[in-house]
Amino acid sequence: MVMNEFYSYIIENIFRFNEEPFSTDLYSESLYGTIGIITISSALLFNVIFYYVINRPNFARWWHWLLIGGVHLIICILAAYFIPKDSFDFLFFGSDPYNYTDYLSFSLINAIAAFAFYVFWMLFVRWKSVNAKQTPFPH
């Protein structure tokens, strides 16, 4: 519930995505919470992977970090597109009232939020990395 409140606030108030009744349905079905958990935790996870699992001198340039961020964005776009779609298909017994532009708009806005969280986590995660603490930019 908390994540649903929090993430709906992020998407609707900060990133200004408010398409009624699509947004209300997302909120009612707690899909903001699900997408929020996936987006925020995967942003952390991909940063951890980059800074502590890969952690290689030859893979520590800003574009390498951006590449991993790109993979993260693709996952978030797919999650923000298909999770609501599956839920609404189930909710409306196969007669989903929303078209693909609704889902695509939401998933693209979520991608922007995902990138913001990817940058946010980077600022906290990278400090203890041996080989990439200066990536994507020096302290």
Binding site: A60, N131, Q134
Partner: protein
């Protein structure tokens, strides 16, 4: 070389004598070249029980190529080491090399002795030996006697180029050394725990004459009429380098290597009575080689630039062996060594190309890891350093390894010193017997002088001859320079923030210890 092992103390057993000093007299061209090898070993981090080493080079040949090359690297070492004092994370340039005058002034002594690592012999700058003797003012009887002792060639010899293989000239000219202000300052500041090591060749002019003369004066303990008991009872070591090269036949030159062996025999006979026979020296090291290499015949001057030789490197390890030998085994009483020791050096088996695996374990342990560390330090500097400044070890700290640092004197001096290190390795590699611990190829100029070396290997950790790289077939494991940089990054965290020069050396020193442990030596 005889197949006997040099009994060196292991590094782990060292008990650093922080206050005492080791005076190293390098006499003649061989003396200078041995001191050069010693400097390279100390730069690489080979440990000496004596943390302060004072080299004093004695050579009348002021323009001598070997002398001046050694002086250059001594000054560079001095400049580098000055920046690294009291820094525990660094092993390179650990021992302090200082001049006699610096040591005296640090003790608060008031002296006008300016030595700059070398002793300036008076009267040899512009004079022939005849002028040095004031031959023209001698009475007829003394003139006849002098003419009996010295040939016309001897008398007309230009002293500025040294004694050209004539110890009879050297013994006269060098006798002034002990009457000089420098020797007096040395005697006055010599302390109870200090030691002396004398490096000389036995088959030339300067070393063969200078060694017994210097030793005699030390054991007398008298300088300008004043008695110096610590000097008289000093622990004295020496290495007498026997023939290990010959020079090309040249009718014009006064130097003829055909006489090297007979001179050696004569000198050894003299030593038998006056050096070893009277227990003047506490530890005497002998080293030599089958004379299979031939140098150009240069009487002296800038042209006398012999390639570095394995025998000189081993002579340098004798200095360290002496420094690391416990004083209980080297006692002196009334100016006489109580239990003098005599040592020879040998390798496992005769070979044209000596590598670390050709050395016995103690010698290999003493120099192997450290020389390898320094080799890889230099390799990174020339191959990668300026293009890898984006990594944390270089850029994540307030004192960065950036263009500003590369423009500083410290870094430039390291670069200069390392070039000498590479040339030294190249010369050791090219010489006969060759010392080739690393897979390198010398680069020469038009005069066939080695000006640099190059390496060519798929994996940089396969460059140590006779030692197999420890492979890990896991494709995710770091290798080559990626491993190197990763270890530099780790080392940088350990070293932390300190002055840029200390951080620079500390990071490389710490990282290379780990790298060598992972990839080359266990």
């Amino acid at each position: 070389m005889e197949k006997r092992q040099c009994k060196a103390n292991t590094v782990s057993s060292l008990n650093l004598n922080t206050m005492a000093k080791l005076f190293v007299f390098g006499i003649g061209g061989t003396g200078a070249r041995v001191v050069k090898s010693l400097t390279m070993l100390l730069a690489s981090g080979v440990r000496s029980n004596y943390n302060e080493i004072i080299p004093i080079l004695i050579d009348p040949d002021r323009a001598g190529g070997d002398l001046n090359r050694t002086l250059k690297i001594l000054k560079e070492y001095w400049g580098i080491q000055k920046e690294l004092q009291n820094f525990e994370h660094n092993d390179f340039f650990k021992a302090r090399i200082l001049t006699l005058s610096e040591m005296i002034s640090r003790k608060g002594g008031n002296t006008n002795v300016i030595d700059g690592f070398k002793f300036e012999l008076d009267g040899v700058q512009t004079d022939s030996f005849k002028d040095f003797l004031d031959f023209g003012t001698l009475d007829p009887n003394n003139k006849y006697l002098t003419s009996l002792l010295f040939s016309d060639a001897n008398l007309n010899s230009d002293l500025e180029k040294g004694f050209k293989g004539n110890p009879n000239i050297g013994s006269v000219v060098l006798n002034q050394f002990t009457k000089s202000d420098v020797f007096e300052a040395f005697a006055r500041n010599f302390e109870e725990e200090d030691r002396i090591f004398i490096v000389s060749s036995i088959f030339g002019g300067t070393g063969a004459a200078g060694f017994p003369l210097l030793l005699k004066n030390i054991r007398e303990g008298k300088v300008k009429g004043e008695h110096f008991d610590f000097l008289k009872n000093a622990i004295v070591g020496a290495i007498t380098v026997m023939p290990y090269f010959k020079v090309a036949a040249d009718n014009v030159s006064e130097i003829d290597s055909k006489g090297f062996i007979s001179k050696t025999k004569a000198a050894l006979h003299y030593y038998f009575k006056n050096v070893t026979g009277n227990n003047s020296v506490n530890a005497l090291y002998y080293v030599g080689d089958l004379v299979s290499n031939e140098y150009e015949n240069n009487e002296g001057g800038n042209d006398q630039r012999n390639d570095a030789h394995f025998v000189e490197l081993i002579s340098a390890t004798a200095i360290l062996d002496f420094a690391n030998t416990d004083s209980n085994f080297l006692q002196t009483l009334n100016g006489r060594a109580q239990n003098p020791v005599y040592k020879e050096f040998g390798i496992r088996e005769p070979t044209e190309r000596v590598s670390f695996s050709s050395l016995y374990d103690e010698t290999s342990r003493l120099i192997g890891v450290n020389l390898t560390k320094y080799f890889y330090f230099d390799l990174f500097l020339i191959e990668k350093m300026k293009n890898e400044t984006n990594h944390p070890f270089a850029s994540a700290y307030s004192n960065k390894f950036d263009d500003n640092f590369f423009d500083q004197t410290f870094f430039k001096t390291i670069v200069e010193f390392n070039k000498s290190f590479r040339i030294w390795l190249g010369e050791l590699h090219r010489n006969k017997v060759g010392f080739s611990p690393f897979n390198i190829a010398p680069i020469t100029n038009n005069q066939n002088e080695i000006v640099d070396i190059k390496t060519d290997a798929k994996s940089i950790f396969s460059l140590v001859n006779g030692v197999k790289e420890k492979k890990n077939w896991n494709p995710l494991v770091l290798n080559n320079y990626e491993l190197y940089i990763s270890e530099l990054n780790k080392a940088a965290e350990k070293v932390g923030n300190t002055s840029t020069s200390k951080r620079f050396m500390g990071v490389f020193s710490q990282a290379l210890t780990q790298i060598l442990d992972q990839k080359i030596y266990s």
